[in-house]
Amino acid sequence: MSAIRVRRRREHPKRVTEVPTGGLVLASDWRRPSVKWGLGTTQALLLVVLVIIGLGPILWLVKAAITPTQDTLIQPMSVFPHGTDLSNISNAWTQVDIGLYLKNTIVLALGSWASQLIVSTTGAYALSVLRPKWGSLIMVLLLTTLFVPPVVLLVPLYLEIVHPPIFGGTLENNYFAIWLPAGASAFNVVLMKRFFDNLPREIFEAARIDGCGPVRLFVSIVLPMSKPILGVVSLFAVLASWKDFLWPLLVLSNPSEQPISVRLPTIQSETDLGVFLAAMLIACIVPIVGFLIFQRTILRGTGLGGALKG
């Protein structure tokens, strides 16, 4: 390739502390005025651009949520030309009943979270630690499902929920229609299994010799040792459920049961713009606050998504 690629990348121990910079621009480079000013200015400009692009729309939403509708319509970029209007927020609670949809969203997220956690922990524990005879067959079947994006299963899943085979009846307008399919995430099982695979086997053996059965091993040893991965899976399960739109739209046709993201597009045309924007702001608050609290875990989890070992 080039003369500069002298050696192949070596395995080096994971850095415990953060490196000062990416290392592309060396300290000696930084001392050169052209680099110092050029790169420094570019980075400062980038901050301005990121604030405008990343934060700007959200700040605009905050502003518009407490601005009289007429001002937002006529002078959308002016800041409070005729003062604020907090009635948008209260109207969102009374007229749009946003509290109910917020509650529905939370209930749906918690159920999906529980379902994903139960299926992935027990399944991964069985496949990684207990290792039944046909475990590898199940693993192959699990990995196969990763090739099928969930959206293409909408039609058969919908038909199944409306007319469940064997059991009869219908799961339409039932929260189990959201919670149960949410558990079928092969990705969670693979992630969890990989974590369990790396737990020290000696501890399991020692526990077994001390007379610890599979259930106790799971509850008292494996789960407490897996808090980091449980945290990551939980965070992304709740975020994903909060973002979900199409599936709840299809199976929850009863408005009083719908989550906020399904409800928003429906009320868009019949709601005063100011109230509607306030409702959208309320829908954002939980994910944004959650992100600010768990920022490190979420960013690390996302970043490691691309961290392939070559």
Partner: protein, 330 residues
């Protein structure tokens, strides 16, 4: 063969598809002869019990629907009459639907534009951020903030921004710059780029974070060696950074293509496929067959088009597998 260390479940499943394809099941440990009695004594029952949630949930909501999808694609189904086998008739109906080539072209246009908007910019941003000497966390948080906004809120907020009147948010900003009002999503030619712009805003943050993580993995000794050889910053980017990132660059590109091939939310909420079918996509067509048809649901056609989409995406995953394999065994 590349091996993944760890992945978040936040990537949607299509993205996970490509990555997970890399991980193969581990070989089972050696075992001894067993009888039903030894099976029971060695805790066979509890092993089974722990697998029950997984088998029940995946059986009902993953494996069964996959089989059912293929069956439905070969049948004529509605709730009124019993299902009838029709062979490949549904596939032929879809291919001869005048909307089919339009939807494929639009989806390709969306994917192409998304690559142009959303592929190089995150790399530049990540490079600049990774060279920061302080406040990298602030930059990363700002970059990622749009990703945590619920997608429906993001689209509806941008719907407000795209107001085509002279007092729309974007048109006001254009007015400051001395540019006249634009029709945005109401015009056949501007609708698709507008959709891609919002989608890039909503998704590019995740790509930046992936690049940032990959950049910390580049061995800094390589940069030092390059400096000793007299390479400047641009040469180092070209000869060290990009070659070191090529696996991640390929992964993000394939993931983006697989993701954008399934675009639904933007055309559904912004334009309902309009104006004049300018933004109808493959997934929107599937949705319209199954759920948006005034003449009654056409589940067969929807399933047939879904099967075609899966086949196309699986093909992509395989090409991708081939590429990463040949590169890493180089």
């Amino acid at each position: 063969m590349s091996k993944i260390d760890f992945m978040p479940s936040e990537l949607d499943q299509s993205q996970q598809t490509a990555i997970a394809a890399l991980s193969a099941p581990r070989p089972a440990p050696p075992r001894y002869r067993r009888t039903p009695l030894t099976w029971l004594q060695s805790g066979g029952l509890s092993r089974l019990a722990f697998l029950i949630p997984l088998i029940a949930i995946f059986g009902a909501f993953s494996w069964y629907p996959i089989v059912k999808l293929v069956i439905t694609s070969l049948q004529q189904t509605n709730f009124a009459a019993p299902a009838k086998w029709v062979g490949l008739h549904n596939f032929s109906l879809v291919i001869h639907d005048p909307l089919f080539p339009i939807a494929v072209r639009n989806t390709a246009e969306f994917a192409g534009l998304a690559l142009i908007f959303g592929y190089p910019i995150p790399l530049v941003v990540a490079l600049l951020v990774s060279e920061l000497r302080r406040r990298r966390g602030l930059y990363a948080a700002l970059v990622y903030l749009p990703v945590v906004i619920p997608p429906v809120v993001a689209v509806l907020l941008w719907y407000t921004f795209y107001n085509a009147g002279p007092t729309g948010v974007f048109n006001t900003i254009l007015h400051w710059l001395g540019i006249g009002p634009q029709p945005w999503i109401q015009s056949q030619s501007q609708a698709m780029p507008s959709l891609v712009l919002e989608s890039t805003w909503a998704n590019a943050g995740g790509t930046v974070i992936i690049y940032l993580a990959a950049l910390t993995g580049v061995n800094s000794e390589l940069y030092e060696a390059a400096s000793v050889d007299g390479a400047g910053i641009w040469k180092k980017i070209w000869h060290v950074t990009l070659p070191q990132l090529r696996t991640v660059l390929l992964v993000t590109m394939i993931l983006q293509i697989i993701g954008t091939a399934q675009v639904f939310l933007e055309p559904y909420l912004f334009t309902q496929g309009g104006p004049n079918n300018a933004t109808i996509t493959v997934l929107l067509l599937i949705y319209n067959y199954a759920f948006g048809n005034s003449l009654g649901p056409q589940y067969g056609e929807a399933a047939a088009l879904s099967v075609m989409l899966v086949a196309f995406l699986a093909l992509f995953s395989l090409i991708y597998l081939r590429a990463t394999r040949s590169w890493s065994s180089e």
